[in-house]
């Protein structure tokens, strides 16, 4: 049996004959510590890997940092690590980023992973309120939903086919907050747009995808000061540029890699404009995206933005732009004014 005295002797011998001096070893320890700090990995908080959220969680306004944040969480989930999400510095949250994170975690769960995630609250009360009322915590930490009927949020809800009931509830959410009462045409277009998103997801987004269950997420938030309700729809399927009919040259260029983002932009713009892109090749098909875009051009909805794969479509602009980081799936977001332009409200 080795005596403690021998172990101590061995340790001293190792230090004396080490290739690295004590100073070098200390420098190496410092470098690792700094690297971990920079990468936000390896630092442990209460036995979990600490992952810091960027100050702005948004796929539109802060895409690169948000993609990196979600990617980092997923990489730890796949390695079976326990995660502690530090949300303390978050000052702005958008529904799309929250739903993309939920979708990614749900997909990991579907594939047998059991994410162990804990975390803290943002210092910003507004962001905390957003996360609580949006239903985010229900998905992330499996805590009961905290939602009241007079809430400014329609909690994140999911489905796998044309969810008429959810589309109806979302439309009722709009009607409840519309200052001028029910606005028939806006109601029509809103409900139609929601069903289009849901059906497109079911019929196209998960075709021939292994290891993923067809699922979409939708939510709404009433921005009272702005007098607008923002609707956000997300699916983590194949994405519109992948599922629309590609012309031969587009398919070839897309395979090449460097031009993929540009081709995605072209395909997304083309699909939103209702050009003949339907994979069914039948007449009067593939009109759903065009009808959503038409609701924008006719003024029933505004701020329409669609992110899909590597493309960012903003309805106010003519062409799509490359997205800073590829999105797995498609995000639709638009606003509906609660006070129509032709209605004057007397305080």
């Amino acid at each position: 049996m080795t005596e403690p005295r021998d172990i101590e002797k061995l340790r001293r011998w190792q230090i004396q004959h080490s290739r690295y001096s004590a100073a070098k070893r200390a420098a190496y320890r410092d470098w690792r510590k700094r690297r971990n700090l920079e990468n936000n990995v390896g630092i442990r908080k209460e036995g979990s890997i600490l992952v810091r959220a960027p100050s702005e969680l948004s796929l539109i306004d802060s895409a690169a940092a948000t993609f990196e944040f979600i990617g980092r969480i997923l990489s730890h989930v796949h390695r079976g690590h326990k995660i502690y999400i530090d949300l303390s510095e978050v000052t702005s949250v958008r529904q799309g980023a929250v739903m993309a994170l939920i979708a990614a975690l749900q997909n990991a769960k579907d594939n047998g992973r059991r994410p162990s995630i804990r975390g803290n609250w943002p210092k910003s009360d507004q962001c905390t309120s957003f996360l609580v009322q949006s239903g985010f915590l229900e998905y992330l930490y499996s805590v009961p939903r905290q939602h009241s009927s007079d809430s400014l949020f329609f909690p994140i809800s999911s489905g796998h086919d044309s969810g008429n009931d959810i589309a109806r509830a979302l439309t009722d959410f709009y009607i409840r907050h519309a200052v001028a009462g029910e606005v028939s045409l806006t109601r029509h277009r809103l409900y139609g747009a929601l069903i289009e998103c849901m059906t497109n997801t079911k019929n196209h987004a998960f075709t021939n995808v292994e290891g993923k269950r067809c699922r979409w997420w939708v939510t709404a938030h009433f921005d009272k000061p702005a007098g607008r309700i923002r609707f956000t729809f997300f699916d983590n399927g194949l994405g519109i540029p992948t599922t629309v009919r590609q012309r031969l040259m587009e398919a070839l260029l897309r395979e090449l890699g460097p031009t993929e983002a540009l081709i995605d932009c072209k395909l997304l713009t083309s699909a939103m404009n209702g050009e003949e892109r339907t994979s069914t090749k039948k007449a009067n098909r593939g009109k759903g995206l065009e009808s959503i875009h038409r609701s924008f051009t006719e003024g029933y909805i505004d701020s329409l933005v669609v992110l899909s794969n590597s493309a960012h479509f903003d309805a106010r602009k003519t062409d799509s732009e490359p997205l800073s980081g590829p999105l797995t799936g498609t995000l639709f977001t638009w606003s509906v004014p609660t006070i129509p332009a032709d209605v004057s409200v007397v305080a």
Binding site: D165, A167, R168, T171, S184, L190, Y191, G192, I195
Partner: protein, 109 residues
């Protein structure tokens, strides 16, 4: 000539769904098969069907195309145009939209 009136919101659903039954509840296919075709089977083609679109939450384009374009594919475009009359006071644009779906069904028949 017998005239039937179908008010989608009351006689079918206030929340119409998408194209096929497999897409979810209250689809265009379901509407065509449960509301339109039975009338043609029971009373023959010498009828008029007035379909009122008002009162629903809204329509997906695929619902309307499958319900009315689908009917035109089954019985023929001219026959469908003669039998079906669309009423939509809430959203008058829908009358032309349905008309286009019926006429374009010619391309597939």
């Amino acid at each position: 000539m017998k005239t039937h009136r179908i008010h989608i919101a009351e006689d079918f659903s206030p929340t119409p769904g998408a194209r096929y039954r497999s897409d979810g509840p209250d689809s265009g296919q379901q509407f065509r098969e449960e509301k339109l075709i039975p009338l043609l089977k029971s009373d023959g083609h010498d009828i008029r069907i007035i379909v009122v679109l008002d009162g629903v939450y809204g329509f997906a384009t695929s619902f309307l195309e499958e319900a009315f374009g689908g009917l035109a594919r089954e019985i023929g475009v001219e026959e469908c145009l003669r039998i079906i009359e669309i009423v939509s006071d809430d959203d008058p644009q829908l009358v032309d939209e349905v008309d286009a779906y019926i006429r374009d069904a010619r391309l597939e028949t």
